[in-house]
């Protein structure tokens, strides 16, 4: 952490009208507390702000798995289905057949979403939720890693 970074953080603290800010990281701890805002009558309580600090994996040139998609401010929630194994992703039970699921389609819990082939075995990946498929992240026939995102489901 350089001096510049501290300066930027303090600017952010002001812009966001934070009362307190704490950052802890390997070998580094930064804590900031603002002087109490004057207790005038026109209560201008500072808005709550949550700071998510993304670690430096990308900066180090190291691969980072994307964080799960979140959409705040909406009444609904997105569930992200991740691959539980390494293998090859297939959207349909066999070549030429139609896909297990399409975007916009409603799915039930335990419904098959796709197949991942590993060591010649076809592993069916099922939904953990009732909901609607809103995103499909992987193309048919492409390799997937452990933990890689497959689908986003809007649960209901």
């Amino acid at each position: 952490m350089e001096f510049d970074d501290i300066e930027k953080i303090l600017t952010l603290v002001r812009e966001h009208e934070l009362a307190e800010f704490e950052l802890e990281r390997d070998g580094l701890k930064l804590k900031v507390k603002k002087a109490h805002a004057p207790s005038t009558t026109h209560m201008m309580a500072p808005p709550m702000t949550a700071v998510h600090f993304q670690p430096s994996a990308a900066a180090l040139g190291l691969p980072a798995h994307p964080a799960p998609a979140t959409e705040s401010g909406e009444e609904l929630e997105l569930a992200v289905v991740k691959s539980p194994i390494v293998g090859t992703f297939y959207r349909s039970p066999e070549p030429g057949a139609s896909s297990f699921v399409e975007i916009g389609q409603r799915v039930k819990k335990d419904q098959v979403l796709c197949i991942i082939e590993a060591m010649k075995l076809m592993n069916e990946i099922t939904s953990e939720f009732d909901g609607e498929i809103v995103s499909a992240y992987v193309e048919n026939g492409k390799p997937v890693q452990y933990g890689e995102r497959l689908f986003a489901i809007r649960t209901s």
Binding site: L62, I85, V86, M119, E148
Partner: protein
């Protein structure tokens, strides 16, 4: 030659294999658990695949995950390193079925030598000196009592599928046998899934000597001399050196030739290590074969100038060994210290973040490590964070060099075994070469006494 090798391991040995692949112009695939996402072996491989969560059983020990990673990246060979799946005949078999080359011996050879009782019989047949003992597994107390009486106490019970001291019991009198047999069987069952044990004559205070071999698929087998690994704590090696001060040139030549013959007898290919006990009257007894590259292979690389990992890859690809027995010359003396992330007194593991990491240069120093400043040592795996290997014209120079290297090594943020290594390197018996596998036991007791003395004085 291979186009792309998947390295089914982590830490320094994964980096070691990457070094060898780069020198041979072969692409590499790193596999990693979620805990190792930022590890150097991921950074320096050409491709990388996350194969599972931190727990080894679900990542580095998962044959399906590793095979799938090889398939989706199009790797044509797998190097298993040491530990994890390196001695898995199953992985070797699956590789064979998938037409991916396993860089190691054939599955049946791994299986034969992995069964310690069968290996014992095969090596006896091939002419290696073995300890008197049971011909196969011993299941009943009655049988155990009879064999032990024949051998004479002390005897040792060992797990057939064993290694690393688990499922082992030394018995000094007939009365101890019943309980020890049951405990050993239970431990073996828990550790290896197979409860079978066998009984051998127990050698008091032996030296641990091992011979490095390399074999190709054209019938050539050579040995690269021995390493001495008697400095152990609970069967975990702490410091290794080569050549051994206890092995004469004549013994080296003769036992080396016998080992080569024995390896040929089982059609051994790739790298392997034949472990022996050496008793105080100069007799060697075969212990087991490790069918993989060893942690301490750099000791042999220093004194022979041969890159063992590159040879492993070459012979797995079907090439001939690049040298003959007559080309192997031993030059100087090498010592390896395994730097562990642990308290040097209590041996408690000390994972965490390394804040400063620096190792000195100068002649004759090699450091194989995945550690660097600001790296995290996860708590899930082996505590070894670096191997420091030195070479000198003779043993005396090597000891002095290791001392100054350890003294000038900076590792801040976690505790390491370096202070313990420095104590060993200053021990008059170690310096004189007077030591056996019991060296550390005695030493730790002495250390405890000293500490108690200090406490008493202080109190």
């Amino acid at each position: 030659m291979f186009k792309k090798i998947l390295i089914a391991n982590r830490g320094e040995i994964a980096l070691r294999v990457i070094c060898a692949c780069r020198e041979l112009g072969i692409k590499t695939v790193a596999v990693y658990s979620e805990a190792d996402e930022n590890s150097l072996h991921v950074r320096f491989a050409d491709e990388d695949v996350c194969i599972g969560p931190a727990r080894s059983a679900d990542s580095y020990l998962s044959v399906p995950a590793i095979l799938s990673a090889a398939e989706i990246t199009g790797a044509d060979a797998i190097h298993p390193g040491y530990g994890f799946l390196s001695e898995s005949a199953y992985l070797a078999e699956v590789c064979e079925a998938c037409h991916i080359r396993f860089i190691g011996p054939a599955p049946n050879v791994i299986r034969l030598l992995g069964d310690k009782a069968r290996a014992r019989r095969a090596m006896k047949k091939a002419g290696l000196p073995i300890l008197p003992g049971s011909d196969g597994p011993v299941d009943t107390e009655e049988k155990a009592q009879r064999i032990s009486r024949e051998l004479g106490f002390p005897v040792i019970i060992k797990a057939v599928a064993g290694g690393g001291g688990r499922g082992m019991r030394v018995i000094r009198a007939a009365g101890e046998l019943s309980k020890a047999l049951k405990t050993a069987q239970r431990e073996a069952e828990a550790a290896f899934g197979v409860g079978d044990v066998y009984i051998e004559k127990y050698v008091e205070n032996p030296r641990h000597i091992e011979f490095q071999i390399l074999g190709d698929h054209h019938g050539a087998v050579v040995h690269l001399g021995e390493r001495e690994c008697s400095i152990q704590r609970r069967h975990q090696k702490l410091l290794e050196e080569g050549p051994s001060i206890a092995v004469t040139e004549k013994q080296r030549r003769r036992l080396g030739a016998t080992v080569v013959d024995a390896a040929r007898a089982v059609q051994y290919t790739n790298a392997g290590t034949f472990e022996f006990l050496l008793d105080d009257t100069g007799n060697f007894f075969f212990l087991e074969v490790n069918t993989r590259v060893q942690v301490e292979h750099p000791v042999t690389e220093w004194i022979t100038g041969i890159d063992i990992v590159k040879e492993q890859i070459r012979v797995a690809a079907g090439e001939r060994l690049s040298f003959k027995q007559g080309d192997v010359a031993f030059n100087g003396h090498a010592i390896e210290c395994r730097v562990n992330a642990e308290d040097p007194v209590t041996f408690q593991p000390s994972p965490g973040v390394i804040h400063a990491f620096s190792v000195p240069g100068g002649p004759g120093v090699r450091v194989d490590t995945f550690a660097h400043s600001e790296c995290t040592i996860p708590p899930y795996y082996d505590s070894m964070i670096a191997k420091i290997i030195v070479h000198g014209r003779d043993r005396q120079e090597a000891i002095a060099r290791m001392r100054r290297t350890l003294e000038m090594t900076v590792i801040e943020g976690i505790k390491t075994s370096i202070p313990l290594h420095l104590k060993i390197l200053k021990d008059p018996d170690f310096i004189a070469g007077r030591y056996t596998t019991s060296f550390m036991d005695r030493y730790l007791v002495e250390q405890k006494k000293t500490d108690d003395g200090r406490l008493a004085q202080a109190g």
